[in-house]
């Protein structure tokens, strides 16, 4: 089966700084994928590589089995909503839809019109007069009316108020329920991602820290709490994500497919937010360590 997104050792560099490096991913189709990480982690870079707005400096990326943006046909399968859901301020909604129809052979005019009707938007209205939520809905409509097999969204709800955010995600989920479409969306709002996604990619410090189906990630990650100790006693199959010590207590977040049977640890499940934060803080700790060993040079 073709992957929605397949990357091998993918990297992108701006000057001397790698915005994304050693990125290896194989995301199957049919998922709603959350791309989560702090600002500057490489989320936008990865999405821009996936739509062909950027070309890799190392490694390879395939989207739906093809190199991004190699043909008009390939691009026809991809819907993309860029950060801040850009639209043409001085053009009317009607003109946006007419442009969509002219540029996309697979354009579903009926779907586009129905969506504008459901949102009670007047087609003659200029996009510049729309609220943030309405503008995001217009951008989403333009992306889905071309009937894509893969929909990529870069922080689509970051600037929206809670109600507009909920409505946008509800619309997106209706689209997923109705069509065979895979979705990759970036966000730093873990609570939103937990509701709508079934697959997660954690990006931090330009690298993929963790990825997989959310259910599997939650089942394989544990928080261990016990009396203060070194970590030599952990089974070798356990990968330590994050460690913290107090005077008497040690807390460890581990990834392990095998259950932790050592009775001197109390084993607790992790929430998705805890899991994401554990990887993000570990990446940040490594960055600081690196800066310190370089003697404070940046």
């Amino acid at each position: 089966m073709t992957s929605a997104l397949h990357a091998t050792d993918l990297g992108k560099r701006y000057g001397r700084k790698w915005a994304l490096s050693n990125c290896t991913l194989d995301i199957p189709t049919g998922h709603v994928v959350g791309l989560v990480g702090p600002n500057g982690a490489g989320k936008t870079t990865l999405l821009h590589l996936a739509v062909g707005l950027l070309t890799p400096d190392s490694g390879t990326i395939n989207v739906l089995g093809e190199v991004p943006a190699t043909s008009a046909e390939q691009l026809g399968h991809i819907g993309f909503v860029a950060q801040n859901t850009p639209v043409y301020e001085h053009l009317s909604i009607e003109t946006h839809l007419a442009m969509g129809a002219a540029l996309n052979p697979s354009w579903d005019a009926q779907l586009a019109r129905r969506r504008m009707h459901d949102l009670a938007l007047d087609p003659s209205q200029h996009a510049g007069d729309l609220s943030g939520g309405q503008r995001a809905q217009l951008a989403l409509t333009l992306a889905i009316a071309k009937r894509p097999s893969l929909l990529l969204l870069d922080e689509p709800v970051a600037a929206l108020d809670p109600l507009a955010r909920r409505e946008f995600l509800a619309t997106l989920m209706e689209v997923v329920a109705d069509n065979e479409v895979s979705v990759i969306l970036s966000s730093h709002l873990v609570a939103d991602l937990e509701r709508v996604c079934d697959y997660l990619v954690v990006l931090a410090a330009a690298r993929v820290q963790a990825n997989g189906e959310i259910e599997d990630l939650l089942a394989s990650h544990h928080r261990l709490v016990g009396t203060r100790r070194d970590l030599d006693s952990l089974p070798t199959s356990a990968h330590v994500v994050e460690v913290s010590h107090t005077e008497r207590q040690t807390t460890v977040v581990v990834a392990s497919d095998d259950p932790i049977l050592d009775p001197t640890w109390s084993v607790e499940p992790l929430t998705l937010e805890d899991l994401v934060l554990a990887y993000m803080s570990q990446a940040e700790e490594q960055r600081r360590e690196l800066v310190r060993t370089k003697g404070g040079a940046s």
């Binding site: 709603v32 619309t171 989920m173 209706e174 329920a177 109705d178 509701r195 709508v196 929430t271």
Partner: protein, 125 residues
Amino acid sequence: MNASSGVSPYQQIVQQVKSALRLGRLRVGDQLPTVKEVVGKIAINPNTVLKAYRELEHDGLVAARPGIGTFIVNSFDDTTYAAQRTLRRSLEVWIEKARRAGLDDESIEALFVDTFLFAPKEVVV
């Protein structure tokens, strides 16, 4: 949906349907909302709803009729409905007593849960 409950979203749907059946708010023959209706209302992943409906189907409580929808085909023992009314009434009386004794909401809930957990699990006849 309660994100902080630690119960997975699909389990929450299963529990809500079961509790609606137990309380008589859903009856045999009723149709569950379609997957699209649910996700369009509460913005969750369609697979979460599908998974919950499949589990309810596996438990023999609902049946999916392709192209039409998912329907309740079975309920828990209906004979408990009548008893539920009197039981609810005596619980209300008990809660009133607890309030008058100065217990706050948290204490009332804690006392109920604690008593429930340590009560004998079966009726001795």
